[in-house]
């Protein structure tokens, strides 16, 4: 019973980590209507920036973390400037395809710049787990979960209540209409990518803290994808619920079903949930329903 509760808590916290990475998808989608397939690569780039500032430059964590976030924001801005600004007004298909191109381009660049070597990642969160009675909760996931919830509440408020957030929501609805209403589509997309890159870097810190860093860690981008779709691509608050559900489902499958069938069903459970939710409710739990006109 104790193990069961512990599995549920750990699963929920891993789910919250997925939510944080998925928040990168949603923020970019909410402000620019582009689904960014290269989210996992942004996580890796964030990870390498953190590694570079702490391990290579030898800065203390108090200095290196803000510096990494600024650098990550710059990378996001550069990607937007080089690739996406030129596509405003083109079809959504072109923009999505550019992010697919970015997926392999960034993967290749990371490999060329840093090589396939395994590197130690700085310890950002205390390694010692939290003991609750006999239960054991990893500290990085616990603090990460708190950061995720704070970020979700803050961003949700920003996008739904503030004036500049609502402007970006208009951009997500329709580029042409938004720009004819005097909203800067360019500015909105640039902001989205900066924010997306920063969130990915925070995700990388929580995910990798005290572990090793290789380019393979970008798989978390695809692990977070079902969470984004389950919540609906427009909802930031919904990510928390979706992340917890998927995390718990995955943890329970890994711990109780996998030993029975002797496979790693846990790794595909999020995708099966995703396929099911797409068939039942294509807009996800909290996504917008759109009416199409010809």
């Amino acid at each position: 019973m104790l193990y069961f509760i512990n599995d549920i808590i750990t699963g929920a916290l891993i789910g919250l980590l997925y939510s944080l990475v998925a928040m990168g998808f949603v923020v970019i989608y909410r402000a620019s209507k582009v689904f960014n397939f290269a989210q996992g690569e942004l996580v890796i780039i964030g990870g390498f920036i953190v590694w570079f500032t702490t391990m290579q430059l030898g800065l203390s964590l108090w200095l290196s973390i803000p510096l990494s976030l600024i650098l990550a924001g710059l990378v996001g801005y550069a990607i937007e400037r080089i690739f996406l600004t030129k596509l405003i007004g083109e079809s959504v298909f072109s923009m999505v395809m550019v992010t697919v191109g970015l997926l392999i381009l960034l993967r290749g660049l990371v490999l060329l710049l840093f090589g396939p070597a395994v590197r130690p990642f700085p310890i950002i969160f205390p390694l010692k787990p939290l003991f609750l009675g006999d239960m054991l909760i990893p500290m990085n996931l616990l603090l990460g979960g708190i950061i995720t919830i704070v970020a979700a509440v803050g961003l949700s408020w920003f996008f739904n209540r503030t004036r500049s957030g609502l402007r970006m929501t208009a951009v997500a609805e329709d580029h042409v209409v938004a720009s004819s209403m005097g909203i800067s589509v360019k500015g909105s997309i640039a902001f989205a990518w900066v924010l997306g890159a920063i969130l990915s870097t925070i995700g990388a810190m929580i995910f990798l803290s005290g572990k090793s860093l290789t380019f393979l860690a970008s798989d978390i981008g695809f692990a977070a994808l079902p969470v984004a779709l389950f919540a609906g691509l427009e909802s930031i608050g919904g990510l928390i619920l979706a992340g917890v559900i998927i995390g718990v489902a995955q943890s329970l499958t890994t711990n109780y079903l996998d030993p029975l069938i002797g496979g790693s069903l846990g790794s595909v459970v999020p995708y099966i949930i995703m396929l099911a939710i797409l068939l039942i409710r294509p807009t996800g739990l909290f996504g917008w329903r759109t009416i199409e006109r010809v």
Binding site: V96, V98, V100, L111, G115, Y271
Partner: protein
Amino acid sequence: MDPSGIFPTSYRSDRRIIRTRWQALALILFMALMVAAPFLASGRIIAILNMMMISAVIAVGLQICTGYAGQINLGQAAFMGVGAYTASILASKTGLTFLLTIPLAGFSAALFGFLFGLTAARIKGFYLALTTIAAQFIFHFAVLNLPSSWMGGSNGITVPPAELFGLRFVGETTQFYMNLTVSAIMIAGAFGIVRSRFGRAFVAVRDDDVAAGIMGINVAATKANAFLIGAFYAGVGGALWAYLIRFVGVDQFTLFNSIFFVAMIIVGGMGSIMGALVGVFLIRIIQEVIATVGPNIADSVSFLGGDIVFAGMNVILGGVIALFMILEPKGLMHRWNILKSSYRIWPFPY
């Protein structure tokens, strides 16, 4: 557009694929050159041509699914893998002849693709692309986690050579003729499909699926059909691949391979079978150049080791996709068509 003096007088002649004598002549010359290639060229070039023909079959299938029907498909490598595994399991366990295993590989891949195409009844746009990524992951999961006596697990499967009337298809040259025959049939079929009723339905759905539905096209069935046909081509290509490499493993069919196929049709031009072929030709040549030059660079930049080919491939193809989407979203075939029509009407502007 057609050259001056060539104009269709009936619907039948308007649908013709070969429209002028010069085109017929060019096609015959090209086919003759291909048949004679093993006598003219060295083994290395034949090997490259083999890869090109197999990729052409798969890219043409993707072209029908993505370029004509507008359904983004990032799971073409998984569909190819299903075909390759079907062919190799049938060939190694039951000893069926390749005349049967290749079509059966196509059908099993088509079934797998159709299942994911069915989701198109509810989902559209890039959501659909996400379900095809799920296809990629589920394929990997199935191969690695099902009992290894079924699909070989992580060890892969060794494929016996294809055999016909006691003639074993080993070596690049004999396989060249097998690939040439199959890919010629498949590509001719693709030209037929896209000018048929199905092809017109694909284009209508791509241009506006709501409007197509109002005009009486069964949109969900059309999308599922597009996946079915695209996956059939991928399955046949996968079977040819299995017979060429004589070994299948799950690492040969990753998301990256799928994106390489997408790059081929973007470079060549969406919505054109010729475009897919041009794209395959160019991308395979780039790949070949990187594979030749890569190791030399790797010697001077030693810390990268053998990964430089994969990394360089990714950087160049990713850059190519992004550049083409920004600068030439309709691909090279579109540019070629503009050029062709402007010299045909020269010296007039239109």
